[in-house]
């Protein structure tokens, strides 16, 4: 049984806090499976275009996780909206791509891709991160306080370019959204407990940071962040609205102001409700909530090497952060600052994300601060490893090209664990690789 340390799902009081300061009177973290929980459904079941008829081998049929849809809505309609190509006049003025699916597509709609976005900034004289103000239109216009630099614009005058002054520059790889409904349904207390247990188990060497971030659809409310490389979002609706504005340049009721008015002919907000009362951001969120979790490979998990690798993975400590098993909150739990209730399809489900959804300093922090406190400049969210076999470019910036390079790149809090890895034999390391390739 979980001991609740936060009222309901999250707190309204402090915007951020470090979990390591919390009282450590917990039982085991949410990695334990509740007696009443069941396995979450998994599968790559959102082939792009959701084709009718025969699909190639290895591609599941077009199905959701069974989540109930709002009146008049269907999962197919949600996926179609996720795949819809935006065009003028709502597209932009600055943007990165024209549809969610253009980045979240591998191996099926909602997945990941090789596409990265660009973030920049600089530190002030006190060493604190400052988001840039980027001049466009020959310095006649500026886009203030925004670390994201869009790679495209609907007119040449609006094109953003990185100022020389912004010495912190980093790529951020597209992240997977499949199974994110289950992640949203994790009680914030569960994440806080994992963080606390890490600190206790490792005597402080590993201590995930839990931050609370605003929930856009519940003004004044905050919740444990879990989405984005900096855990900058706690709800999928907030995330969808943010991405719609910042990746495609489409404003909505939750992000009602476009990034710039240069070359803009529409009136904000651009995303309005359809005949069923649902805006595009509602369809996006509904789609992500209804996707299945990324599945394991069909054959590899049963092999002796993958099973030995799975044991080694936990023995050497990888599983301290890449948490093997988490159970979602019970059906009916009110989350997202009161704006959402965990439905039957997502409640009390056991998932295997291989992440703690916490921020850690493993030596790869990109220097950028978003919704968290200043110390999060040196931290990134633990990358969920489910679906890892579908990725070729690894870590937040895609710079690590082999599994071994990505592992060796971990430092900071992960130093002890990675030194355990270094001590393994070549055969044992190979078994870990087989296990990773089964995810």
């Amino acid at each position: 049984m979980l001991h609740k340390i936060l009222p309901k799902d999250s707190l309204n009081r402090p915007l951020t806090f470090c979990v390591t300061a919390l009282i450590m009177a917990f039982t085991l973290a949410g990695s334990a499976q509740s007696p009443t929980s069941s396995e979450a459904s998994s599968g790559f079941t959102t082939p792009t275009g959701c084709p009718e008829g025969t699909l190639p081998p290895g591609i599941g049929s077009c199905t959701s996780n069974g989540m109930a849809e709002p009146p008049g809505d269907t999962f197919t309609a949600d996926q179609s909206t996720f795949e819809e190509q935006e065009t003028l006049p709502v597209l932009g003025p600055v943007y990165n791509d024209t549809a969610c699916v253009n980045c979240h597509q591998n191996p099926v709609t909602g997945g990941t891709s090789q596409i990265a976005e660009l973030r920049v900034g600089h530190n002030d004289s006190s060493g604190h991160f400052v988001s840039p103000t980027i001049s466009i239109n020959n310095d006649q216009t500026s886009i203030p306080n925004r670390s994201l630099v869009n790679d495209r614009a609907v007119c040449a005058q609006a094109q953003e370019r990185v100022p020389q002054s912004e010495t912190i520059r980093t790529f951020r790889m597209t992240i997977n959204t499949l199974g994110d409904g289950y992640v949203e349904a994790i009680d914030s207390n569960t994440l806080a407990q994992i963080a606390s247990n890490q600190a206790r188990q490792t005597r402080g060497q590993i201590a995930g940071e839990f931050i609370q971030v605003p929930v856009a659809e519940a003004p004044g409310q905050v919740r444990g962040g879990r989405f984005g490389w900096k855990n900058q979002h706690a709800s999928l609706l907030s995330f969808a609205a943010d991405a719609y504005l910042n990746e495609m340049g489409v404003s909505s009721r939750l992000q009602p102001t476009d990034t710039t008015t240069l070359c803009k002919s529409t009136t904000d907000p651009e995303d309005g409700p359809d005949a069923n009362g649902l805006a595009d951001i509602d369809h996006f969120a509904q789609f992500m909530r209804a996707t299945n979790a990324p599945p394991r490979d069909a054959a590899l998990p049963a092999t002796p090497d993958a099973q030995a690798g799975a044991s080694l993975f936990n023995q050497i400590g990888c599983g301290i952060c890449h948490v093997t098993r988490i159970t979602t909150a019970p059906v009916g739990t009110v989350i997202n600052g009161g704006a959402y209730t965990v439905p039957a399809a997502l409640g009390s489900k056991t998932i295997h994300p291989y992440s703690d959804f916490l921020l850690h300093n493993v030596g790869t922090g990109d220097g950028i601060v978003q919704n968290g406190p200043a110390d999060t400049a040196s931290k990134m969210r633990t990358a969920p490893l489910w679906g890892l076999r579908t990725r070729g470019r690894l870590m937040h910036d895609g710079q690590s090209l082999t599994r071994n390079d990505a592992i060796l790149r971990h430092a900071g809090e992960a130093t002890g664990v990675i030194n355990n890895y270094r001590s393994l034999s070549t055969t044992q390391k190979g078994q870990i690789m087989t296990f990773l390739n089964s995810l």
């Binding site: 660009l118 060493g127 990185v162 020389q164 071994n404 060796l408 790149r409 430092a411 130093t415 190979g430």
Partner: protein
């Protein structure tokens, strides 16, 4: 101040002075351990660090340099070495314990370009015995590269160079938390990009 006494002995014996001296000593040790400087290439600590990281006995081929090259607040070590046959053989293993890179093949973000290049394509680097290398060992904690836990290492090869590059420590820029290794008699320096060491023009 504690009870009055006669001379330095009494002064030193006072509790407050002991604390002051301890603090001062601690600060000096902390200061000296984080400052960029050279190290003795015959140093047992350097040889021990190399052996710990490479798993084979190897001697520095030039003066080691120390500083915080990755900006994590922990002192790092940069040592010119020559690849031994054992090291060359290790580099072909499936899962080496260090990262081999050629800084010439790793692009940096161009701040003037609106369209940024994708991360680098896989570029296999091949080591041969006798090849000049620069080993950079990242420190861990206050003891930095001397810490037995410090084992994250990068082996930098320079196959395109006519001569082995000779590195010096650049003066740390104001407000910077990072030390930089610059190639002598050229305008380029090695900087940490979060994953690799890459070349950047010195300012």
């Amino acid at each position: 101040m504690g009870p009055a006494g006669n001379g330095w002995a009494a002064l030193y014996s006072s509790r407050e002075m002991k604390i002051t001296l301890l603090l001062t000593t601690g600060l000096l040790v902390a200061w000296s351990s984080t400052q960029a400087k050279t190290a003795d290439k015959a140093s047992g600590e350097v040889r021990s660090a190399l052996s710990r990281v490479l798993g084979t006995a190897i001697a520095p081929s030039d003066t080691p340099l120390t500083g915080d090259f990755n900006g994590d607040g922990s002192p790092d070590l940069a040592v010119p070495i020559q690849a031994t046959p054992e090291l060359a053989q290790q580099s072909t293993a499936a899962f080496s314990n260090w990262t081999l890179e050629d800084p010439d093949t790793i692009p940096s973000l161009d701040p003037a370009a609106s369209a940024q290049p994708l991360p680098p394509a896989p570029a296999a680097v091949h080591l041969y015995a006798g090849e000049p290398l620069l080993l950079i060992l990242h420190g861990y904690g206050e003891r930095g590269w001397r810490n037995p836990q410090a084992r994250q290492a990068f082996l930098l090869a320079f196959p395109a160079a006519d001569h082995p590059p000779i590195f010096t420590l650049a003066r740390r820029a104001r407000n910077s938390t990072t030390d930089t290794l610059c190639e002598r008699n050229t305008a380029r320096c090695l900087v940490w990009n979060g994953a690799y060491y890459v070349w950047r023009k010195s300012r």
